[in-house]
């Protein structure tokens, strides 16, 4: 028995001639805040989509919360929360209606639904926005709502695909506070980001380039891979990527 929240072996996905993810093997422990870094087109979204059962791998295996994704994709869906890179909630529904819809879809009923929704609303402080159409929210509020909808059913693994893209610094800090609260409560979080300050706040990182892994470890370990000596994570990121492209 493993306690891994996510485990992949040789995970590969091709789109025609393009190999978006190549031979990816990863193991993420329960309760980690695991960061997935990499330049545009390096395969982060594709990886997450395969882990959520949204894309079928061309080769390799993946398991989430101890369940094989290919064998039981529907069982996985009860245990995971997912925030897509592009805002995926209904812009023509209000904040409250979006929450009610996803609550219903995740099987929350009656009083239990009300209690859980109230918890989420309090946790993310979205009470004042409940009556507003989701399409009229600013970026930061949209992201909070999306996180709220992904949390309603208390997922054990949370996949966040660039959750803070285009969000102002204060809102980003708030958002990361929420992520760490969740991790402390035992939720495993896999998050992609292009912000180095966010990468620093992860327990471990994986750097991808051209669909494969180029570095793996704690932020300090990854920075050390390029020789340490006061090099930052950002330096490491750029140096490793350039090395890979050569």
């Amino acid at each position: 028995m493993t306690s891994a929240a996510v485990e992949t072996h040789g995970l590969t996905r091709r789109f025609g001639a393009v190999t978006a993810v190549r031979d990816l093997s990863l193991r993420i422990e329960t309760g980690e805040v695991f960061g997935l870094l990499g330049p545009n087109g390096s395969g982060k979204t594709t990886t997450i989509r395969m882990l959520c059962g949204l894309l079928e791998p061309s080769a390799g295996t993946a398991s989430v919360a101890g369940i094989d994704v290919a064998a039981a994709p529907e069982q996985i869906k009860l245990r995971i929360g997912y925030m897509s890179q592009r805002f995926g909630l209904y812009e023509d529904l209000t904040v409250a209606e979006n929450l009610a819809f996803y609550g219903g879809i995740y099987g929350l009923r009656g009083e239990a639904a009300e209690r859980r929704t109230a918890e989420i609303v309090a946790f993310l402080e979205i009470g004042p926005r409940l009556g507003q159409l989701a399409g009229q929210l600013s970026g930061g509020w949209k992201q909070r709502l999306a996180l709220g909808c992904a949390l309603l059913h208390r997922p054990v693994v949370l996949f966040l695909d660039e959750p803070t893209a285009g969000v102002d610094p204060a809102a980003r800090r708030n958002f990361w506070q929420a992520i760490h609260d969740l991790a402390r409560a035992g939720t495993t979080v896999l998050v992609t980001t292009h912000y180095m300050d966010e990468a620093e706040r992860c327990t471990r990182l994986a750097m991808m380039s051209g669909g494969h892994l180029i570095a793996l470890g704690t932020p300090a370990e990854v920075a050390a891979q390029v020789g340490g000596g006061g090099r930052t994570l950002e330096d490491a990121f750029i140096i490793l990527q350039e090395r890979d492209e050569r």
């Binding site: 997912y82 592009r86 805002f87 529904l93 209606e97 819809f101 996803y102 879809i105």
Partner: protein, 370 residues
């Protein structure tokens, strides 16, 4: 049993209510189409603008021309002096028919020789010319009979065929068109609305978030169509009521049965749209495919053109359209007042369409992004 159907239904219902375009399709289109088809597509042609060249100018010729006008098919718009003027009027299109009474018309009558009157009809449009020709033939025949009976000293003609047009005694096209229009409109709007359903969510990026939940394919599909079943029935009611009030179309027969069959037909049409939605990648494609499907429905279902007149192959193709069967039910119930005993084959076929198309749509749909 399908616990996620209800939230899906509620969500679709709210979205439907807020979507202007859908609301327009659902409410504006039926009324617009009804007025368009009801008024413009009058297949019974009356009041053809007619010019007359009366070369004899006698009481007999005036009598004859009045007989033509009394049929209601011809409206005399001008009396001209020569045949050239008549030809010009027809060529220009100011007149659709011309009547020429020769100078010797009363003399021939008197002598008991065959008299001729010439009726020229602009047959570029076969539909209007046909009714003109038929009316002209009718006038001649009535006159002939009257003259012959008088000569034979009889009170009337020896044989008279009493033709009774059943079910639509006035032979009015609105009576025939409006019930059919219910079916055509439902096909158009129901297919179009659901054809956009899945693909719209795909384009907006909401499908990705939705299919990562435990919702089943069946719940998703049924949740997409159920709000529109009510819409379809409201639409049908609108068309029938406007047809009743504006075009005086009778509503005989068992309306409860009509609504029950309409329910099945609406489900079949919605499912067809949903199936289209699983085949295409963009809303534009789904729109194109829907229009591509609507056209044969109008042409081959018997809505406007009698199926009996079509080549056998197209009659068969017509049988593949749910609308063909629903039209029989609509006209059967509304015009003839028949019931289940006469219509059960159509009802069974429609139910098979509805069931088959739902299953097909659910099968085709994949809860992945590929």
């Amino acid at each position: 049993m399908m616990p996620r159907l209800w939230p899906m239904f509620v969500k679709e219902f709210i979205q439907m209510r807020r979507d202007r375009l859908t609301l327009m399709i659902v409410t504006g289109l039926p009324v617009l189409q009804l007025l368009l088809f009801g008024y413009a597509i009058q297949t019974d042609v009356r009041h053809l603008p007619t010019v007359v060249v009366d070369e004899s100018r006698t009481p007999e010729s005036r009598d004859l021309i009045a007989a033509f006008e009394n049929t209601g098919s011809f409206t005399i718009i001008a009396r001209l002096d020569g045949r050239e003027a008549l030809d010009r009027a027809l060529a220009r299109g100011t007149a659709a028919a011309g009547i020429i009474v020769p100078a010797d018309y009363p003399r021939q009558l008197l002598r008991g020789q065959p008299a001729t009157v010439q009726v020229v009809v602009d047959a570029a449009d076969p539909l209007s010319s046909q009714s003109g020709l038929a009316a002209a033939a009718g006038v001649a025949q009535a006159r002939n009979l009257a003259i012959l009976s008088a000569a034979a000293g009889r009170a009337g003609p020896p044989l008279e065929a009493r033709v009774r047009p059943r079910y639509n005694p006035g032979l009015r096209s609105a009576t025939f068109i409006v019930p059919g229009l219910v079916g055509v409109l439902l096909t158009m709007t129901m297919v179009l609305i659901t054809a956009m359903a899945i693909v719209r969510e795909r384009e907006r990026g909401t499908l990705e978030q939705l299919i990562v939940t435990p919702i089943t394919k069946t719940e998703l599909m049924l949740g997409k169509i159920t709000p529109y079943i009510g819409v379809g029935l409201v639409q049908m009611t609108t068309v029938l009521l406007v047809g009743r009030v504006v075009f005086d179309v009778p509503l005989t027969g068992n309306l409860l049965l009509l609504y029950a069959v309409a329910l099945i037909f609406v489900i079949a049409s919605l499912s067809l749209g949903l199936f289209i939605s699983t085949l295409v990648r963009t809303q534009q494609q789904s729109m194109q495919v829907s229009f591509f499907i609507v056209l044969p429905n109008i042409l081959l279902s018997g809505f406007m053109f009698p199926r009996a007149a079509m080549p056998l192959f197209f009659q068969w193709v017509g049988l593949l359209l749910p609308l063909t069967h629903f039209l029989k039910v609509l006209r059967g119930i509304l015009l003839k007042g028949v019931g289940v005993a006469a219509l059960w084959p159509e009802i069974v076929i429609l139910a098979a369409f509805a069931g088959g198309l739902i299953v097909l749509a659910v099968r085709r749909f994949r809860k992945t992004l590929d």
